[in-house]
């Protein structure tokens, strides 16, 4: 090999390395799992397994085995079934009264909240040897991103029924206050909505809707700006 060829090879390797930096850096973290479908076909069709083991595998793979489909798209909704597609394979998801429906952040949901084109993940048990039917234990709707929790922000505008906060990681969020919402200051004394002003730092406990940028069903609001604290720049004589 002459010097020119070696240089050309090194330059090529250099460009491949540059154009796929993540691949190069995280090569060892790549998932090496064989897809479930292929794995099963290998097990069932592999003649080396022998007849006895083949039957054993078929029995093992039949009904009752744990089933999990990660992030498939809903293409049809029945009274108690969902049809979802993942990796060009169609699955029928059978639900019943024991099936738990959850949102992305594990809030309680229902079959009615699922729409066509929603992304769902399913955990349950296979109902047929072909692994196309699942009796669902949990259906999690990744497309409904509502989460109950606490959310911090600074008030940027106030209305009669609520206010808007600017939060560090979620941008503007509209907060709708209920009659039942408890509003307290920093030391837990009860205050009213009219005490909350633009610039106040608040913590809102309720359900955050990522799609509509709202916080609703609010249980508690805590205003950390009341009572007023001395500024670090102010001095006392």
């Amino acid at each position: 090999m002459n010097k020119k060829t070696i240089n050309l090879f090194l330059a090529g390797a250099f460009f491949v390395g540059l154009s796929t930096p993540k691949l190069a850096f995280f090569w060892d973290k790549k998932e090496k799992k064989v897809p479930v479908g292929i794995e099963n076909n290998l097990q069932i069709e592999n003649p080396d397994l022998g007849v006895q083991q083949n039957i054993k595998e078929k029995v093992k793979n039949f009904t009752g085995k744990r089933a999990a489909i990660g992030t498939g798209e809903v293409v049809a909704i029945g009274d108690e079934t969902l049809t979802i597609v993942k990796d060009e394979k169609t699955y029928t998801v059978i639900t019943d009264s024991k099936t738990k429906f959850r949102r992305k952040f594990w809030g309680t949901s229902s079959l009615n909240e699922i729409s066509i084109n929603d992304l769902v993940s399913v955990v349950g048990r296979w109902q047929n040897e072909e692994r196309t039917q699942i009796k669902a234990m949990i259906v999690r709707n990744i497309s409904v991103q509502k989460r109950y929790g606490v959310f911090f922000g600074v008030v940027t505008s106030v209305t009669d029924s609520g206010f808007v906060i600017q939060s560090a990681q979620r941008g503007d969020q509209t907060v709708s206050v209920l009659d039942t919402t408890k509003i307290v200051d920093r030391v837990m004394s009860v205050i009213s909505l009219s005490d909350i002003e633009v610039g106040h730092r608040v913590r809102v406990k309720g359900t955050w809707d990522n799609v509509n940028s709202t916080i609703s069903d609010i249980v508690q609001i805590k205003d950390f700006s009341i009572p007023v604290l001395p500024s670090p720049t102010s001095t006392t004589n």
């Binding site: 330059a11 250099f14 460009f15 540059l18 154009s19 930096p21 993540k22 744990r66 999990a68 738990k100 959850r102 992305k104 952040f105 594990w106 993940s121 955990v123 234990m137 949990i138 999690r140 989460r147 109950y148 929790g149 606490v150 911090f152 922000g153 600074v154 940027t156 600017q166 939060s167 560090a168 990681q169 941008g171 920093r186 730092r201 913590r203 805590k222 950390f224 700006s225 604290l229 001395p230 500024s231 670090p232």
Partner: protein
């Protein structure tokens, strides 16, 4: 003026290298604009790394620096029992929120919360705030495989 092909290739390689390096650096950065906008409006300082987001008001009197350490579980753990105890340490008497549960750290800053996991991947959002509203938010993923 004629440029030798090998020098021309060297310059092009250098430019491509710089372009790709910038692409890699900036593709993984968090949304700085959102933080800058928030800092401008609120007068608060936002610090974010892979593990947590920390928001501290720069206009308040100096207080103890806030922190939040989760002792267990670890991010990306897989467990077989649906009952999970989350243990950690933070500043004394801080308010702690873990998904829909809440508690208060003791005088040493220790806290412990039991939660029930669902089958599959569970996202745990763990938040602490001090008495002035400074806070830290962390997210852990724990997978339950019970059958």
């Amino acid at each position: 003026m004629t440029v030798k092909p090998k020098y021309f290739l060297l310059v092009i390689s250098g430019l491509i290298f710089v372009f790709l390096a910038l692409l890699v650096i900036f593709s993984d950065l968090p949304d700085k604009n959102l933080f800058q906008k928030f800092e401008k409006i609120s007068g608060q300082k936002v610090t974010q790394n892979e593990e947590e987001i920390k928001v501290v008001d720069k206009n308040l009197p100096e207080t103890e620096e806030i922190f939040l350490d989760i002792v267990s579980p670890k991010d990306m753990d897989t467990v077989s029992s649906s009952l999970l105890t989350i243990k950690g340490t933070t500043v004394a008497s801080a308010e702690i929120f873990i998904n829909d549960k809440e508690t208060k750290a003791d005088k040493s800053g220790n806290f412990s919360v039991n939660i029930t996991l669902e089958e599959g991947e569970n996202i745990l959002t763990i938040i602490m705030n001090d008495s002035l509203g400074n806070y830290i938010e962390k997210q852990l993923t724990v997978t339950l495989e019970s059958f």
